[in-house]
Every structure is written in C-alpha cells, then in structure tokens.
Subunit: 161 residues, 3 copies
C-alpha cells in the first residue's frame, strides 16, 4: 500500500465507491482529467461509502450547521481522493497540490465559507504534509449546487509519472 493510503487506513478512513448517479443524470466528463503532469479535478461533492451522494442536502447556515458543512467538505476530500486513486492507481503519484476552489451552498450573506472548506484543506494537509499538501484556495458561497449538495470542490494538482 502507498504511503498516503497507509495514512488513510491508520486514520480509519475509507474511500467511497464510484459516484452512483441519480437516474437520468448524465455527466459527460471525467472526474479527473490527466493532461501532461497535471490532474484537473472536476467539481466533487460529498459521498457515502457506497458512492451515493451524501446528505444532508441544502444550505449551510440554514438547515445545515457549520460543523456539518465542515464534515461534508472533509467527505468531499475523500471523494476526490477516491477519484484520483481510480485514475492514478496510487495516491502517492499526487506530487503536489496547486489550487483548490471551494463552493458552499449557503444563504446570502453567510460569512463562514472558509471554516466550511477547512474540512477539506485540513485533511489534505494531514495526509500530504505542509509542503506537498499546500494549496492556493478560494471559498465562496454559491446560489445552487448540483443535486442540492451543500459543498462542491474542484482542484488542480501536479502528478508524477
């Protein structure tokens, strides 16, 4: 097992199965697009272990608490790691993180979007360490997300051959 996957196992974390889409939904793009040494990572949301889209649904700061939002962002990190694992075979091939764009489904005026997306950043930093895991980041509130998920995150990372 790779170093990153050992660390995930030691933390008791499992990666979800491939996204199980609701009926009639077509997503004509890969979850990770490898071009040269770059992994362009599509917008991901939180998933359950069986790959289904994870509740709770709706807006952070309304029906979803800040702490729930942070856990959904952490789950979204696991969704992204699962996609990277399927695409790359080994999570150690993620050489370094470059940028992360975090989107929170929230009520107008909700001001704690960074605290929500920290659930993602903290897990990536714990797994990859401060040098490889370091990433530029924005964390904003959006009007709507697919399937009414509460958090969506896209990213870019450098990979090794």
């Amino acid at each position: 097992m790779s170093g990153i996957e050992n660390r995930l196992a030691a933390m008791g974390l499992a990666l979800p199965a491939p996204l199980a889409l609701p009926a009639h939904v077509v997503l004509p793009f890969p979850f990770v697009n490898i071009r040269g040494d770059t992994a362009y990572i599509s917008g991901h949301g939180p998933q359950n272990d069986d790959g289904s889209v994870s509740a709770p649904f709706g807006r952070v700061g309304e029906t979803i608490s800040l702490e729930e939002g942070r856990l959904l962002a952490r789950k979204t990190a696991l969704s992204i790691l699962a996609s990277l694992k399927r695409e790359l075979g080994d999570l150690d091939r993620v050489r370094e993180w470059r940028r992360v764009f975090g989107m929170v489904n929230c009520a107008p005026g909700f001001t704690q979007t960074p605290a929500v997306i920290n659930g993602f950043s903290e897990l990536i930093l714990e797994l990859y360490g401060p040098e490889r895991g370091r990433h530029a980041r924005s964390a904003i509130g959006v009007a709507a997300l697919p399937f009414n998920i509460a958090v969506e995150i896209e990213a870019e990372a450098a990979i090794s051959a």
Copy 2:
C-alpha cells in the same frame, strides 16, 4: 478548412461575430489569453450570429427552462470557438481541452446545473472527440452574471504551435 471547422459546417453551425457590447461597457481583457502552450479562455456567454448578447435573459428554472438553458450553453460553446478561431486562426490548433467552469444564473436551490452545462460539453465532445475534447468540469449556480445572461463558461485548453 480545418477538420473542426469542416465538422461545424457539416453540422450546419456558424460561429458568431465578435461580441457587440452594450454601450458604455468596457471589458479590459482579451476573450482568449494565449500564454505559452495554453489558451486561458475568459468567461463567455451566448451570442447571436451578429455578435450581440443572446436572449433569453434571466434565471434558469424561473423564466428560462432547462432546455433553453442547455441551448444557451451550446451557444456559449460557439462563442468560445469563435474567439479561439479569431485568436488562433485555425480551430485544429486547440490540441486538447483541460478544464471547463460552467456558471448558471439560477434561482437558489436549482439542482440541474449539470444538465444545463451539458449543452456545452456535448458540442465540444462531438467536435473534438472523446480524447481531445475530454475536460474536467464544475457546473454551479451563481447569484448574478454580466448583462443578466443565463449562462457563462470559462475554460482552459492546450494549443499547438
């Protein structure tokens, strides 16, 4: 004529004229910024053949139907291809697509943003095929877009010399 442009012609599709801006609007940036082997593509919206911004205006899921939204995303693909053609001379110089960021002007809680942006992705895949056309993607709902357009898309692609 290039391969991609032949395909457009065979599909009966025309590229719009350069964006005809409303009076007093200044956009101090290029629609495509070429740096090295990369085309950084600014946010584009749907245009009519004469270059004017395309109606309908407003929010998908309110005054604009899902199917209208999808057609506006398809028109936005043509706007982007028109900008790339003007910048590169030949659409075959778009070597491969990397990432696409789709923004839908919609009511809070609208959940079908991916189906809207599929209008873009499906045309790019039809023109460039599954290998060159493949792109990472996010599709989100936003509070507002310039000129009250319903769809805006930015992207990044690799180009050849």
Copy 3:
C-alpha cells in the same frame, strides 16, 4: 526598488500589511502558492493599510455602490500585490498574468459585475502594461463571501526565477 514598485510609488499607492484576521479564523493555506514557474493566487479581498479587512461590507448594488465596488476591487489588487511581494521579494518577478477570477457579493440579478472587477484589471494593466498585464477573466456575482466582504479575486500568474 523594482520597476513595478517604482510605478506604485509614483502613483502614490502603498501595499497593505499582512492580512489581520478576525479572532478565531484559521486559514490553512498560503495567499500565494508557488509551484514551478506559476504563482497560484488564493482568493483575496480588499484590505486597509494596516492589513485589516476593508469596509464597506455587504452587497454591491444594495448598500454598496458600483463605484465603491470598483474601488474595493482596486484595493484587492493591492492586497494581491502585497502577498506577491512578500512571497517573491520583488514584483518584477511576476513575468506575466494568465487568468483572473472575480467574484462580487451582490444581489441576485445585479448585472454590472464586469464594471466592478475592472477596478482590479485596470490597475494591473497600468502597472504591468498591456503585454505582461493581459489576463483572461470572468466576473460573476456570488451568494456569499468570507467576512461579508464585497469583492474577492483569485488569479494565476507566471513568475521568473
């Protein structure tokens, strides 16, 4: 002093001190992430000279005028330049700008997001000139921003060694 910093001084512009965060806020990411020859620039907002987050807070088109919004975007450019200066030592090391993503905290249906973000673009172009300063851009309206700031901008630029 570098060429860019001379120009800033000649324009009477000062760069703000490092961001002074509100209590209890943790941002586990760098404001600029250098990877190879690229500066990935995190979402920044307007700051006062002392580094505190700059008022006015809220939504452009409601409590904040278009002209105030434009000035906040200009201040955001100074925040980003301050982060780049701290990271690179010399603003002349920003070789060329690639892409800019501008987010405006605004009421649904606000249509002048480009005019707001022009406050950023115009300053970058004035400092770096049309060739190095040229950038692809999107300017959208979002539902919420951290700390209820009115404008947030992320970007990517190429740097020299």
